[in-house]
């Protein structure tokens, strides 16, 4: 589990400015939060189940970014 991935998701759920930035350039935002490359790849692929397993996050948390 990566605390950084979770931190980014929680930050996205609070901050519309960060959401705008993420929509334009997800990689920069993920790098800034230190989201591991494996998680970034799963997010890019839209692999919600894979992210759940790899990051140890629940379904709802993953639905925040993959829907």
């Amino acid at each position: 589990m990566s605390e950084n991935t979770k931190k980014m998701l929680l930050a996205l759920s609070e901050d519309p400015n960060l959401v705008s930035e993420y929509k334009q350039d997800p990689k920069t935002v993920m790098d800034r939060f230190g989201v591991p490359a494996e998680h970034q790849e799963l997010i890019g692929q839209g692999d919600k189940e894979g992210l759940q397993k790899a990051a140890g996050l629940d379904d709802e948390m993953c639905r925040l970014i993959i829907f």
């Binding site: 759920s13 609070e14 519309p16 929509k23 379904d59 709802e60 639905r63």
Partner: protein, 271 residues
């Protein structure tokens, strides 16, 4: 432990971002937090108060919504019995379509305890923003869909009409969340007594996650039965026309239409 008191708060529609500063303070200072929120919402609450407990299991433990709500109230009151500041947190606005929030306030006060309801961001607030609907412009009628169908109201077609909980339409035993197509057709027929069949309504759902978009699906009343309704669906009917100024009411006060000062909303509405 301080005397028991109850604060009932709302966590808004989008977990995290919709928590008000006031609610954050109440949560942080509470001795116990009991929350009816989903996993992400609970995660946020636990960052504010690590002792936050979920009441979501009340839905699984009890058959039907009435029993689930009664169990939530029982557990909130049981927490109050232990004294201290109890904060009950509900998804959305705690006073809007949340029977257990009102009931636990009533029961706490009946025990002589201090109890207060605080506002949260409701689905209606999201609807006003996402549909850019200003209730000052035309006025807004707002009903629970099934209640609206069962207990006829006078419809003012010059004002907006909002019908909530479309998925519960036809849920006569209050134990499911799937609209009955026969009830949707019957509701559309009721509406078509006042609106033309081609009047375009909007099926609205607030975005519950910041990266997703709200649902804003236009549909004519004649085709209303063809759309699907989720638990989050609301039906919005725009007004048919602007309301008419009453010369008679103005005359009672010795005024005529020309005496009314400029009002931007009126110019926009009367276009």
């Amino acid at each position: 432990m301080a005397a028991a008191r109850l604060s009932v708060v709302g966590t808004g529609i989008r977990p995290g971002g919709h928590l008000t500063l006031e609610t954050r303070h109440l949560l942080a200072g509470a001795d116990r937090v009991l929350a009816v929120v989903d996993g992400l919402g609970l995660e946020h609450l636990r960052r504010i108060n690590p002792a936050a407990e979920s009441l979501q299991d009340c839905y699984r433990q009890s058959p039907g919504r009435e029993a689930s709500y009664a169990e939530m109230v029982r557990r909130i009151l049981a927490a109050l019995d232990r004294g201290g500041h109890v904060c009950a947190a509900f998804y959305g606005h705690p006073g809007v379509f949340v029977w257990p929030a009102h009931e636990c306030i009533r029961q706490a006060r009946a025990r002589g305890l201090e109890a207060r309801l605080y506002p949260g961001i409701s689905a209606e607030d999201c609807l006003f923003a996402d549909l850019e609907l200003d209730p000052a412009l035309h006025g807004c009628q707002s009903y629970e869909a099934m209640d609206f169908f069962l207990y006829p109201r006078l419809i003012d077609t010059s004002a907006a009409l909002v019908l909530w909980q479309m998925a519960a339409l036809g849920d006569v035993r209050r134990d499911r969340f799937e609209a009955d197509p026969a009830w949707v057709r019957a509701l559309a027929e009721v509406l078509m007594a006042d609106y033309p069949a081609e009047h375009v309504a909007t099926v609205y759902e607030a975005a519950t996650f910041p990266l997703s978009e709200p649902r804003r699906e236009p549909i004519s009343l004649a085709r209303l039965h063809q759309v699907s309704f989720s638990q989050a669906s609301t039906l919005y009917l725009p007004p048919l026309a602007a309301p008419r100024l009453s010369e008679q009411r103005l005359a009672r006060l010795g005024l005529v239409a020309e005496d009314l000062g400029p009002a931007a909303y009126r110019r926009y509405r009367d276009r």
